[in-house]
Symmetry: C2
Subunit: 198 residues, 2 copies
């Protein structure tokens, strides 16, 4: 029972990976990259510290460019992040060896999040099972479990070393002369999983 | 970390109980009864076979009567089942010793299922965490895990020995001279968890 789990190195995707393992799955972590930066290395580093297999899945830079255009047009990154996540799930689910895909999306997330018709469509189009270990958990439960499991570094910073879609999207915006702060809400605190507790 | 888990003895609520335990929770199973039948005993029997603590939570018969009136008026049991489930969660969450409530509702269920505002409202009104281990799993994943874990008895029967809300609701309808088959869809196969595999 091998599951391919979309992984950023953050708390949510790390907690999801742990849950999948507790359910008896063999877990391979997969970090998406558009090849414009090597920030996927932060996810690999955390994956190694947690003892999981890890691979990088390269997506076409056109997807990132389309997402950047959406973010610029709308003045907000939500639909762009959602667009990238759907393409990432499809790319992963379309690999011939993949039977189960997973991610760390949560009940209380607005994006990225697949609604029920989209979740079923992903499963039907690609013949995979789509597993979201955190979907039934609220923020209180997620905080309780991550606090018990992980050593987390919280830093006040514009951009922590992290491997989520946002980093390459911000980078592309900057390359086009656009200040990401005009599009992304300013977030003061970022967190990163450093390893297991104890 | 004690969680009180609404339990019918069926596959979904048994799988959820197992997941909660794997996540490190101490699990107490809770079966709702309106006191009109003792079919909660089937849930207790399965709970004992699986090695979980179990208690019965008695709800007012008025709730069952209101649900029966809804089912009769609407000619369909969906809203009645949803109504009972919400009252069951509230009754459980309102107990002073309860900090976490859980159930076996699934992504692909139509009822009973709390939408996001209702789930958050339950947490906020009663100061509890609400955990749904199966919400992020599709039918394929649930089948895979239950098939690995449980010995299940499948029988062709109108009513297997089970402890879900439906049994007491059907019973009350019959007492009022109404054939449940005019309201409930006919389901030929029912399943019951008998114990752990191996």
């Amino acid at each position: 029972m091998l599951v391919h789990h979309l992984y950023s190195g953050g708390k949510d995707s790390s907690l999801s990976a742990w849950i999948l393992k507790r359910l008896g799955y063999e877990v391979e972590l997969v970090t998406v990259s558009f090849g414009t930066l090597d920030n996927w290395r932060f996810a690999r580093e955390t994956a190694e510290r947690l003892g999981f297999e890890h691979r990088v899945l390269y997506l076409s830079k056109e997807i990132l460019e389309t997402a950047a255009e959406m973010a610029i047009r709308e003045g907000h990154p939500n639909n762009a992040i959602q667009f990238i996540h759907e393409r990432a799930l499809e790319a992963l689910a379309s690999l011939p060896e993949v039977e189960r895909v997973s991610d760390g999306t949560r009940r209380d997330d607005r994006v990225p999040l697949l609604d029920l018709p989209k979740a079923r469509s992903l499963e039907d189009r690609f013949g995979v099972a789509y597993i979201r270990p955190l979907l039934g958990l609220g923020y209180r439960t997620i905080r309780e479990l991550t606090g018990k499991l992980f050593v987390v570094e919280v830093r006040e910073s514009e951009e922590l070393e992290k491997a989520d879609y946002e980093v390459e999207l911000r980078h592309l915006l900057r390359e086009r002369g656009i200040d990401p702060l005009t599009i992304f809400p300013r977030s003061h605190y970022q967190s990163r999983v450093l390893g297991w507790k104890e």
